[in-house]
């Protein structure tokens, strides 16, 4: 009797394990990307689709764990930063092969770094490492040991390597030979890409089983978010990495378990005034836009709570400055969003000689305050925000004209002709470290949006910001860096070169068929742990 029972138990366990194993293994993960990837060269990725392919196929030396926000060993088992932050010495994993079988060694790392830092390549990832002038020196210390020396110290060096996918120096397949969990198996131009599991992937789970669990990934190129949401509803795709607020509400209503709000994202929506002295605007308008009182008054006239509640359906928070509260370490917690106070706004404007006359705000020369805000067409959130700000500003007698433009026309106005008055855009922050915003805050930079490429800082506060940003980049002590950057945030809050409006929440929607999902704020929000995700019915879900 006991033997029979034991046999039955064994049989059941075997069956269950087989089912579990079946549920864990295999299957095809399906989700959408919004355009064709422009390049498969991981060093040149600058668009979302190419970044997605790079994340899924690229092997990196250290991976920033999106949950803990700490650097973890990947192809490098250990590393040491020395020489004041200029040199990093890496011990590499042994016995690793590229997807085509080519062995991985320090030579490949050296090759990748040299390619990355080649000034002729103009890699955006490479530019993040370019802390100073001079060459990067790579010294191969052994088959699996390499030291890389940069010309100047780089703060947060180890986390930056999360963006560098190692390429093979020798493989005939060039960038298509990869070290990540998947490789590109099929590319139907304009329609879809199929990635298959890398047979030589080095990572194994705690039971010694080779990862990834999911056999293949199908990326459908789908521009329309409406159709994407429909497809998720129908079960044709497994998740939407970053879903719009109205669809999130719909998913929430239909199946709350599918809706995930990871909290405040790192992204910001903001507005700024054109302060470029060589812009074709009339002098009186330039005087308005360069006045701190004017900008602060506009900021105080905008009802951010309403923007959050109505434009974003409550799935956002009023923004404070360049860093969102979602960036826990770097956010200056002493700062609050500017309050909605039109009385105070009018007082500030009064200090600059503005006055209300028959419901119309006029400057001291009698010009009626009227200006336009340009934003990129097709972005529902921004169009809504601009229209709401239009009503808010009419409350203090300002006439705002909303102009939506196609993106190239907008960029031309912003960067070439400077023929615009105010602009409403957003910033997608993929990096926690404020160094990633260096080129926005340095007054000499081309990306210093409100007044780019200054030969010398136009104002004392911009000079101060230049000093502080350089100071935080040249020290490795995170607390000191935070002190400097907190001051930058305080100045930005005071001077409002960017009128920060909202920080969106990181919203995603995930099918119950996908397991081990932990949506986070850092990109890629849903599939950051792709190799550990598995597909199966909820009855045999495996809990980790």
């Amino acid at each position: 009797m006991r033997h029979r029972l034991a046999r039955v138990v064994c049989l059941i366990s075997l069956v269950l394990s087989a089912v579990l194993a079946f549920a864990q293994a295999g299957g095809e993960l399906r989700f959408c990307i919004y355009s064709e990837p422009k390049t498969f060269n991981p060093l040149l990725t600058a668009d979302d689709a190419s970044d997605t392919i790079r994340y899924l196929t690229g092997g990196v030396l250290m991976r920033l764990n999106r949950l803990t926000q700490e650097a973890e060993p990947e192809l490098a088992t250990s590393w040491k930063i020395s020489d004041g932050g200029r040199t990093i010495t890496l011990q590499l994993r042994d016995g690793v092969r590229f997807s085509d079988g080519t062995p991985f060694s320090a030579e490949d790392v050296a090759y990748t770094v040299q390619q990355l830092m080649d000034p002729a390549l103009h890699s955006p990832t490479g530019d993040s490492f370019r802390s100073g002038e001079g060459k990067v020196i790579t010294r191969i210390l052994g088959k699996n040991r390499i030291a890389i020396t940069f010309p100047a110290p780089i703060a947060g060096l180890d986390k930056l390597f999360d963006q560098v996918a190692i390429m093979s120096a020798k493989s005939p397949e060039k960038e298509m030979a990869v070290l990540g969990p998947y490789y590109v198996a099929e590319n139907k131009a304009g329609a879809y890409l199929i990635l298959k599991r890398n047979p030589n992937y080095w990572k194994h789970d705690s039971r010694g089983r080779q990862l990834p669990y999911i056999d293949s990934v199908r990326l459908d190129i789908q521009q329309s978010r409406d159709i994407e949401a429909l497809r998720l509803e129908r079960g044709e795709i497994h998740f939407i990495n970053s879903i719009d607020a109205e669809y999130y509400d719909k998913v929430m209503a239909q199946n709350p378990a599918m809706a995930h709000d990871a909290g405040i994202s790192l992204d910001a929506e903001f507005m700024w005034f054109n302060q470029a002295p060589n812009s074709p605007l009339p002098a009186y308008k330039k005087a308005w836009f360069t006045s701190t009182n004017f900008r602060r008054a506009i900021s105080e006239s905008i009802n951010r709570e309403d923007l959050v509640r109505i434009a974003f359906r409550g799935r956002a928070h009023p923004a404070v400055g360049p860093v969102s509260p979602g960036n826990k370490f770097w956010f200056n917690a002493n700062l609050q969003p500017h309050p909605f106070d039109q009385k105070s706004a009018l007082q500030r404007l009064g200090q600059d000689g503005f006055h209300l006359q028959d419901g119309v705000l006029r400057d001291r020369e009698g010009h009626a305050v009227e200006f336009s805000v340009v934003t990129n067409a097709g972005n529902k959130y921004r169009e809504r925000m601009a229209t709401m700000i239009q009503q808010d500003l009419s409350g203090i007698g300002i006439k705002l004209n909303v102009v939506t433009l196609d993106f190239p026309s907008l960029i031309e106005r912003m960067t070439r002709t400077f023929d615009y008055e105010a602009c409403l855009l957003g910033l997608v922050n993929t990096d926690l470290d404020p160094n990633s915003q260096m080129n926005i805050w340095l007054s000499s930079s081309d990306n210093h949006q409100w007044n780019p490429s200054q030969k010398t800082p136009a104002t004392a506060w911009e000079a101060e910001i230049d000093k502080l940003m350089r100071a935080q980049a040249s020290t490795l002590d995170p607390n000191k860096r935070k002190q400097y950057f907190d001051q930058v945030q305080a100045i930005a809050w005071e001077q409002e070169p960017f009128i920060y409006l909202v920080n969106k929440d990181a919203l995603s929607a995930v099918s119950p068929a996908l397991h081990n999902v932990h949506p986070v704020v850092l990109r890629p929000q849903v599939y950051w742990n792709i190799e550990e995700l598995s597909l199966g019915t909820s009855e045999v879900a495996r809990n980790r």
């Binding site: 422009k38 304009g190 521009q223 329309s224 190239p408 907008l410 070439r416 080129n439 926005i440």
Partner: protein, 287 residues
């Protein structure tokens, strides 16, 4: 006959080349030419941004760069797409069949429905059928392509057929009016009075009178289908040249746009020339 064909070929060549040049002019003169979204990447340093801007800068003035393009064209090189980083020849080769399929299906559906309903309306002389067909055509005209595309996805119907529903109301409206006018002509009334059956009246008396205009409409409907293919392919993510044209327009990709303009001009010319030829053959046969 040979002289006629040679003249036609010459006309097609001149118009296509002119089309390419004018298309390039429109793109070059429009704002946003020579800028790249990637310039706004905050990671890029000044040298990289300068290099990016240099790469976007046009090669010389418009006429010079067009001649360079023609020179490359003679060697079979259609240029490289800036937005997709691939040779234009490859892109066109991959995507043209897709669009041709969509347009073929779209035109077949549009004409079958449109002409069929028009004939039914005119021959049956039933006011309720006319009203129903008019309402249907009106409804389809009033629905934005984006909504039609969504409806198709909802119904899980092949997205290609959206083109048919866009072509149908225009074909129906024109052919209904043309056939109605033909059916009111004296010789048709005479034929009916003499007791000829409906089918004979239609095929021998009504259709022939309206045929030249219907042929012209057929030629124009090819162009309409091409124009409609752009938003439909972009919305439904069909990887055809319509989607390519939309991306190229948004990215100011001159290399792609010149070639696509020339392809569209060529197809439009051929379709309309074919309908003209058939029309003139019919006239000669009648005469």
């Amino acid at each position: 006959m040979l002289r006629g064909l040679a003249k036609l070929a010459a006309k097609v060549l001149i118009v296509v080349l002119l089309g390419g040049f004018l298309g390039a002019t429109l793109v070059r003169l429009a704002p946003g030419y020579g800028v790249d979204e990637e310039e706004l990447d905050p990671r890029l340093n000044q040298q990289s941004i300068a290099a990016l801007r240099q790469a976007q800068a046009p090669e010389g003035n418009l006429i010079v760069s067009y001649f360079h393009y023609l020179d490359r064209l003679l060697h079979g090189d259609l240029g490289v797409s800036r937005t997709l980083q691939r040779p234009v020849v490859e892109l066109v080769r991959e995507r043209l069949p897709e669009t041709m399929k969509s347009i073929g299906l779209g035109l077949a559906l549009g004409w079958t429905l449109g002409l069929g309903l028009a004939i039914a309306t005119v021959m049956s002389r039933a006011w309720y059928l006319d009203l129903f067909a008019g309402l249907l055509a009106g409804l389809l005209l009033c629905l934005p392509a984006a909504v039609l595309a969504l409806l198709f996805v909802l119904a899980q119907a092949p997205a290609r057929l959206v083109l048919g529903l866009i072509v149908f109301p225009k074909v129906f409206r024109y052919s209904r009016n043309l056939l109605a006018r033909s059916s009111a002509l004296p010789h048709v009334l005479m034929a009916r009075a003499k007791g000829l059956g409906n089918l004979r009246v239609l095929l021998w008396h009504i259709l022939p009178t309206a045929t030249p205009q219907l042929l012209a409409l057929a030629g124009v409907s090819v162009s309409v289908a091409f124009t409609a293919a752009i938003p439909v392919e972009a919305l439904c993510d069909l990887p055809g040249i319509g989607q390519l044209a939309w991306k190229a327009a948004l990215g100011r990709d001159v290399a792609l746009l010149i070639n696509l303009t020339m392809i569209v001009t060529l197809v439009t010319l051929l379709a309309n020339s074919a309908s003209d030829l058939m029309g003139s053959k019919l006239r000669r046969a009648e005469a």
